[in-house]
Each structure stands twice: as structure tokens, then as C-alpha cells.
């Protein structure tokens, strides 16, 4: 695989380009990098939803969808992602490279042009069509409310929101449902014009064309992007210590409870100890040979699943498990006990190497998935870094047991959240 190259396309606009002939599919993305905040999150999240309703040439969803069909079923989606305390707002696309199609159309140029038009030339001319804004704000609010439908994901989100209540990270990247419902077309337009000019923009391309050519194509597509004299700063504050441990509980009428724990590990993606932190999380709960899987699930049958992962941008370790309410105390005690074992260095050679191999495999295999690379490099762009998965895999090779234990010993449990089943029936 070729190395990813980062180029500056316009002031504050960088492109991460990955030249590869491995795939039939090309990937493009465009993200405005915004500082995550409760005040702004809903406005920014609503933008790509409204933009994807229609542009000057394709003014409604039917014509836009027909255009995508004509581009051999190209996919184009509004995207709102949270990378630490950076809210990444924009568009992602993937499509079959023209080399694999009859008559060899220039799909890349066509898609970049379409994305540029959607971003810069919305239907309605000098304003957003009010029906699009009122429609999309309702859809977005429904989507935020529907998150509670999927209990395990909802519970993780709630834990992180409670844990980081006083930090930007605690904000929902889609905003709050009631606030989103109140957003007006005029306010959204003003926000749109401001953030277009004031945001840093991260672009991505993976496909067979050379990076310079991809940059030229993007430059042409974004020619009309306004650029301010300076750009809003968006970065992530890593909190390295926890105060007293906090506990929260919520009830729902569900069959299975979900127990989520959050720890301030104090090590984030930019730190030298980051590979050790990743390895600690993997030994603890990242694989089917991990301590949590083997103890909480296999040995004690306390849970159907019990896993842990590192939120690398923010340096938070998250544990998630699905349990019966009656097992809560036993499961929590075991979850805490297993972390203590990691921190004390009670890690067998087999555990350490299996976790290391698993992480290295995942990082190296990312090279076969352009969509994963896109997401990885967006995270890197949001944090002002350029490290690819291969480089991180290399850094993992040298991490020792003592380093894993040392990182683990520095962590402090912060928040325990339990979504309790009511157990009134069945």
C-alpha cells in the first residue's frame, strides 16, 4: 500500500490522498472541523442533512438520487462524526472507479464536482428552502431520540455524557433533540456562511489517481469555498485525573441490563504511551482472549458480552457489559478486579502476545478497507497528525508488559452507569 500523502489544497484545506489500485471503489470525503460545543453542535449537525436535500442542479432528493444512480450507484451521505472534541461535519462518498465501467467515465471528477456543488450551492440560492430545514430538523431530532432504541449504544453514550458533563466532550455531536427542533432557516443560513469561511476543512481521497491530480480535482470543485483570514481552533482537552467515582442508574423496561464503566486513563493518541494504552485495553477487554471475555463471560457466565476499548482522542477507557440486574454487584467487582490485575502486571505471555497480534492485525488489515482508512485519517486530521495505521502497528511491536502495567496503573475509574431492566415480568 502506498503511504498516505497530505497536501494543502487551499488555505486551511488539506487533502489526505492515498493512491492505490487495489480497489474497484474510490472513496472521497469532505469535513468541516468544528470545535464541539453544546451551543453549536445541533446547528452544525443539521447543515449536511439540509445540504443533501438538494443543490442548484439537483434541487430535490429525487433528482439528486437519480444523479447518484446514473453514477453507477454512487453513495453520498451526510456525515457528522465526533473525533475527541472536534465535530467533523460534511459528506462521505464511495463509488465505482471509472476504469471498471463501460465507456470509462471520469467518476472521480463527477463526484467531486457534485460534492462541491452540494456544499457550496444549495437549492434556494441565497437562503435555505424553509421546507428543507423544518423537515430535516424534525428528522434529526427523531434520530437523536431513537438512539435509546439500541440499548448498549445508548448506555455508552449516556455514561460518556455523564462522565464528561463539564467538558466539551460531553456534548452530543448531533445536538440535543429539543434544541435542534427549534433551529430556524435564517439562523442556519448565517451559521452556514460563517462556518464555511472559518472552518478548517479535511478532504480525503483513496483511489488510483496520483495525489496531485486528486488535489487539482478537489481544488476545482471547491473553487468557490470562502476562506477567512484565520480559522476556528478545534482541539481536544485530555483530562488526566478523576475526582471521586460517580455512580448513575437509569431504569427501562428491558430484559437485560447494561453496565458501563468509564476510566480516565490519561493517555491519548498523541502521547508516547499510546501504544501501551491500546495494548492495555486489548489485554483487558479487546479480544476473545481478553481478561473480561474469559472471566466475566466464559468463566463466571455473568454477561453475554463484556468488552473494553480506548477512546483514543480523549484518553477514556470504556467498559461495556450486558448483564442481569441481579448480577450487577458481582459483575462490577469482577470488572474492577481484572483491571487491577492488568495494572499489577498479572498478564501472561500468551495474553500479551494475543492482544498485540490482534491489534496489529486490525491495524494492518485497515489497508484493505478504504472506508476505515478514511475514518482513521479524519481522526488524524482532526488532531493535526498524519500517523497511518501501519506506523502505529510498528510502535506496538516494542511495547513491554511493564509499560502496559504502568499505563494501566495510572488510570482512575470515574463513572459507573447502569441501565437497569425492571424485571417485573418474564
Amino acid at each position: 500500500m502506498a503511504e498516505a500523502v497530505r497536501l494543502t489544497v487551499r488555505p486551511g484545506v488539506t487533502l489526505t490522498a492515498l493512491q492505490t489500485e487495489q480497489f474497484k471503489t474510490d472513496v472521497l470525503s469532505l469535513s468541516l472541523l468544528r470545535p464541539l460545543s453544546r451551543e453549536e453542535a445541533g446547528l452544525s449537525a443539521l447543515l449536511p442533512q439540509v445540504l443533501c436535500r438538494g443543490s442548484r442542479t439537483y434541487p430535490d432528493m429525487t433528482r439528486l438520487a437519480a444523479r447518484l444512480e446514473a453514477l453507477y450507484g454512487a453513495r453520498l451521505e451526510p456525515a457528522v462524526r465526533k473525533k475527541g472534541e472536534v465535530q467533523c461535519v460534511g459528506l462521505t462518498a464511495d463509488f465505482v472507479d471509472g476504469a471498471y465501467l463501460p465507456a470509462r467515465p471520469d467518476q472521480l471528477r463527477d463526484m467531486a464536482a457534485l460534492m462541491g456543488e452540494i456544499l457550496l450551492d444549495p437549492a434556494g440560492g441565497g437562503e435555505f428552502l424553509p421546507a428543507y430545514v423544518t423537515g430535516e430538523r424534525a428528522v434529526l431530532a427523531d434520530r437523536i431520540r431513537a438512539e435509546r432504541n439500541h440499548k448498549p449504544t445508548y448506555a455508552v453514550r449516556r455514561m460518556l455524557a455523564l462522565m464528561c458533563a463539564g467538558e466539551a466532550y460531553g456534548a452530543h455531536e448531533l445536538g440535543e433533540a429539543h434544541a435542534v427542533e427549534a433551529l430556524e432557516p435564517e439562523a442556519l443560513w448565517a451559521h452556514y456562511r460563517a462556518v464555511l469561511a472559518r472552518s478548517r476543512v479535511a478532504l480525503f481521497y483513496a483511489g488510483p489517481r496520483p495525489p496531485d491530480e486528486a488535489a487539482d480535482i478537489w481544488r476545482g470543485a471547491l473553487d468557490a469555498l470562502p476562506r477567512a483570514a484565520s480559522f476556528d481552533r478545534a482541539d481536544t482537552r485530555v483530562v488526566r485525573t478523576a475526582a471521586a467515582r460517580r455512580e448513575h442508574e437509569e431504569n427501562m423496561d428491558i430484559a437485560q441490563g447494561t453496565l458501563i464503566l468509564g476510566m480516565r486513563l490519561g493517555v491519548a493518541a498523541g502521547d508516547a504511551q499510546y501504544p501501551a494504552a491500546l495494548l492495555a485495553a486489548a489485554v483487558y477487554g479487546g479480544t476473545t482472549t481478553s481478561k473480561l471475555f474469559l472471566s466475566v463471560r466464559e468463566r463466571l457466565s455473568l454477561a453475554y458480552y463484556a468488552s473494553a476499548w480506548l477512546e483514543g482522542h480523549k484518553g477514556i477507557l470504556v467498559v461495556s457489559s450486558g448483564i442481569e440486574a441481579k448480577n450487577r454487584a458481582a459483575a462490577e467487582a469482577e470488572i474492577l478486579r481484572q483491571w487491577t490485575a492488568v495494572a499489577e502486571g498479572t498478564i501472561s505471555d500468551e495474553e500479551l502476545e494475543a492482544a498485540r497480534l490482534s491489534l496489529i492485525h486490525r491495524l494492518r488489515a485497515a489497508a484493505d478497507r478504504p472506508d476505515r482508512l478514511e475514518d482513521h485519517f479524519l481522526g488524524q486530521a482532526a488532531a493535526g497528525r498524519t500517523e497511518g495505521p501501519d506506523a502505529l502497528a510498528e510502535r506496538l511491536r516494542g511495547v513491554s508488559r511493564a509499560e502496559v502495567a504502568a499505563v494501566a496503573a495510572g488510570g482512575a475509574w470515574d463513572t459507573v452507569y447502569f441501565l437497569r431492566g425492571e424485571e417485573t415480568h418474564e
Binding site: E69, A146, R148, S301, L357
Partner: protein, 427 residues
């Protein structure tokens, strides 16, 4: 080994054979770091009633899935998961209505991992103790699925559509049905289905095909297996019930609408059926359809809306799934649109565009080894080859797509399943 080239899409399918006639399919992916291998068994949740060498037996719901969980245990006290972990592979397994599949992906030590895969799937080892314990773990999994409204609404739909076909039962079974599963049930079902005649090995990656065949030859047992007949009950062409409903902790109602189709004949006809069904649903309710715009603008659907063709042994239906404040209105609109297409016809230019999009979607999937292996296993169990679908596009017409819709969307053939929010709660 037999090498089939598909130059239009620059893909190759290599067909080989292991002991007992185990079919082996390899899709070479030069330049890929990851190799993916899947060992699939034509044994899914619907195979509850079958005859082995003429002797019929009925098994509890959930055996295929239970077996999937227990196969990883090995006689030496070893767990196949650990063996994969030591060799840096990421293994997993799934059970669907139609198949059970065991798979791994690795970036190194492929042959060692392939040996592990072939070895553990061909080694039944079930003790009473471990089966009893697994009932607890699967019980938790079943309860987790019970809290998943998307699964529940789909299960509700299939139960409404099918009165007799075992597709009406949840894939994992129920807490009650799995309590009836013992080590002997698992052994018998493994002996009946886990044999070369009812399995296939699919590999996608940068591999030497001859080595795959060599490893299979060295590890896989030679038995072809007994003769097995399956029974899915009398086929029904009308929905058993028109509606299914359930209240859950959801923010808004979730619906699944289904319309029964006559299951296709095996072979290339199955591929044609799937492709035509997919195009027909795109024409009816895809994002570029007038119906989609109307439903979306009335907020009767949102971007979560999905649709397509569902097929399993002895069963097929067109489905539309989504969130809606008024599922009945969506149902009515779908039927009205089928009627309108009957009057106005499906626009020929639009149909050509839909074919382009469907071709593009298939080409994109060819970049995904996991998808290629699963699709080829699916096709093989239907006596077809996945890549052959590419040659079927030209012959499909808008008229055939309309006929497909019109046959399924008859009131007697449709059912609507709804999961509604519990009263006075959250949201």
C-alpha cells in the same frame, strides 16, 4: 482446479474440491493484506425437521445457533478461539435462517489458521457440563435480542407471514426451546449436516489456491455424509396473519412490511429472482422514486428506511422496514404505488439507471472479501455461482419487475409488523 475468469469485472473464481467432495471456492485478491476464509454449512435455523437416511426427526428451535456456539470447544480442553488468537487471526461465526458459517481473517500465518478452522469445525466435542453452561450464555444473548426492536419487528413479520414454515421462529430459538437441547442433539445434528455434501469453503485474498486445496486435503475428513431431506411444512402463498404488534421501549413506532413471493427454483433462476426483486423494490420505493419523496416529505419515513428482497430455503418476500408515526399509511402508499406502476408502467430509462446502480453496488462488494465469501456460499447452496449474476442484467425488463411487484403486493399476501412505544414513557 477449475479457473473461471470474469473479465468484465476483472475477477476470477477458482473452484476446487477437498476430501469427500468438499467444494472450495477461491477469489484471488492480489495485493490484499488480509485473507478471509469462511467454512459454511447449509444448516440454518429453519432446518428443524429433517430425515437422516429416511428417519424423520424434529429438533427444538435454536440448535443450529447452539451448535455454532459449542463448536469452538476442542477435546484437549482447548478452545479454537485461543488457537486463532495465538496465530493473530480474528475468528467469528454466525447463524442465519439458511446457514451456519465459521470464518476468520488474518494478515499472517494463513495456512495455520486455515488448519485450525477446518479442524475445529470437523471435531464435535460436547459435554453435558459445557452444554448446560452455554444455555446460560445463549439465554443472555436471546434476552439481548429481545431488547432489540429491529430484531423483534422482523421476527414479528416473519411469524405473521408464515404460519408453518420454521422461519417463523427466532434464529437463536427461545429460552424454553434451548432448554431442550442436549449434547446428544448437538452430536446428531453435527453428524447430519457438518459434512462435505452440505458445506463449502470460500477464501478471498492473496493466496496460493493449490495450498488451500492441500491444507483441506490434509485436515478435512473424507466423509460425504448421510442422505438428508428437509421439511419446511406446506408452502403458503397467503400471509398467516395480516398484522403483528408489540410494545417496547422505543422512541417512535418501527415497522416491517412484507409481501410473499413464490420461492425461486434453484440455480441461476435464484440469482435472477434476487436481482429482479431488488430492482423492482428500487423502482417502487428507492430514493429516486416518487413514492420515497412523498413519504419522506410527509415524514412517514426517514433516512433509516430500508427495503429489499428476503430469501431463505422455501421462503421469499419483499420487505420494507423503517420508523414511522403511521405504519398503516406507509403500507397503503406502497400498495397505491404498485397500482400506479401498473397503470403508468416503470419508466424504461429509469429502469436502465437502476440496473447501472445495481451493477455498481455489486462491483463495490467485490472489494470486500467477507461479502464475496458469503455471497458465493449463499449462491452455492442455491446451486449457482455468484459472479454469474453479472450476465443476467441485460435480459431484465421493467415489465418483469412490475409483474414481480404485482404478484407479491396482493392484500392476502402481505403482513405488517409494528413495534410501538410503550405508553407514557421517556422520549
Amino acid at each position: 482446479m477449475n479457473k473461471l475468469d470474469f473479465p468484465g469485472v476483472r475477477e476470477t473464481l477458482i473452484c476446487g474440491e477437498g476430501p469427500g467432495g468438499l467444494p472450495i471456492f477461491i477469489v484471488p485478491k492480489p495485493g490484499y493484506r488480509k485473507t478471509y476464509a469462511m467454512l459454511a454449512v447449509q444448516y440454518g435455523s429453519v432446518d428443524t425437521r429433517f430425515a437422516v437416511d429416511g428417519a424423520w426427526r424434529d429438533t427444538p428451535a435454536g440448535v443450529a445457533h447452539f451448535l455454532e456456539h459449542k463448536m469452538f470447544d476442542m477435546p484437549d480442553g482447548e478452545d479454537a478461539l485461543q488457537a486463532f488468537a495465538r496465530a493473530g487471526a480474528s475468528p467469528n461465526a454466525f447463524t442465519s435462517h439458511a446457514m451456519t458459517a465459521y470464518h476468520f481473517a488474518c494478515t499472517d500465518r494463513f495456512e495455520e489458521n486455515l488448519r485450525t478452522l477446518l479442524r475445529f469445525v470437523s471435531t464435535p466435542y460436547f459435554t453435558k457440563e459445557s452444554v448446560d453452561k452455554e444455555q446460560g450464555i445463549i439465554g443472555q444473548e436471546i434476552r439481548m435480542m429481545e431488547d432489540n426492536p429491529r430484531s423483534r419487528v422482523y421476527e414479528g413479520l416473519l411469524a405473521a407471514l408464515y404460519g408453518a414454515h420454521p422461519i417463523r421462529l427466532p434464529i437463536a430459538g427461545t429460552v424454553a426451546s434451548i432448554a431442550e437441547i442436549g449434547a446428544d442433539t448437538l452430536r446428531d445434528c453435527h453428524a447430519a449436516f457438518y459434512c462435505s455434501a452440505r458445506m463449502c469453503l470460500c477464501v478471498a485474498g492473496d493466496v496460493d489456491p493449490a495450498r488451500v486445496e492441500d491444507v483441506a486435503g490434509a485436515v478435512w475428513p473424507a466423509a460425504r455424509g448421510p442422505a438428508v431431506t428437509r421439511d419446511y411444512g406446506a408452502p403458503n402463498r397467503e400471509a398467516s396473519r395480516k398484522t403483528a404488534s408489540r410494545a417496547m421501549e422505543v422512541a417512535r413506532p418501527i415497522f416491517a412490511l412484507g409481501a410473499l413471493c413464490a420461492p425461486p427454483a434453484p440455480g441461476t433462476e435464484t440469482l435472477r429472482f434476487e436481482l429482479l426483486g431488488e430492482l423492482a423494490m428500487e423502482a417502487l420505493t428507492g430514493p429516486a422514486s416518487p413514492l420515497y419523496k412523498a413519504l419522506y416529505e410527509k415524514r412517514l419515513i426517514n433516512r433509516d428506511y430500508g427495503y429489499g428482497l428476503f430469501r431463505a430455503p422455501g421462503a421469499a418476500c419483499l420487505v420494507a422496514v423503517g420508523e414511522s408515526p403511521e405504519p398503516d399509511a406507509v403500507r397503503e402508499a406502497l400498495f397505491d404505488e404498485v397500482a400506479r406502476l401498473g397503470r403508468d408502467g416503470i419508466d424504461a430509462a429509469r429502469f436502465e439507471r437502476l440496473k447501472r446502480a445495481a451493477l455498481g453496488a455489486r462491483l463495490r462488494l467485490m472489494d470486500v472479501p467477507e461479502a464475496l465469501c458469503r455471497l458465493q456460499a449463499d449462491a452455492h447452496f442455491a446451486h449457482a455461482r455468484y459472479f454469474d449474476a453479472l450476465s443476467l442484467f441485460d435480459a431484465l425488463t421493467p415489465e418483469a419487475a412490475y409483474a414481480f411487484l404485482n404478484e407479491a403486493f396482493a392484500p392476502a399476501r402481505a403482513a405488517l409488523s409494528v413495534v410501538s412505544p410503550k405508553a407514557d414513557r421517556g422520549g
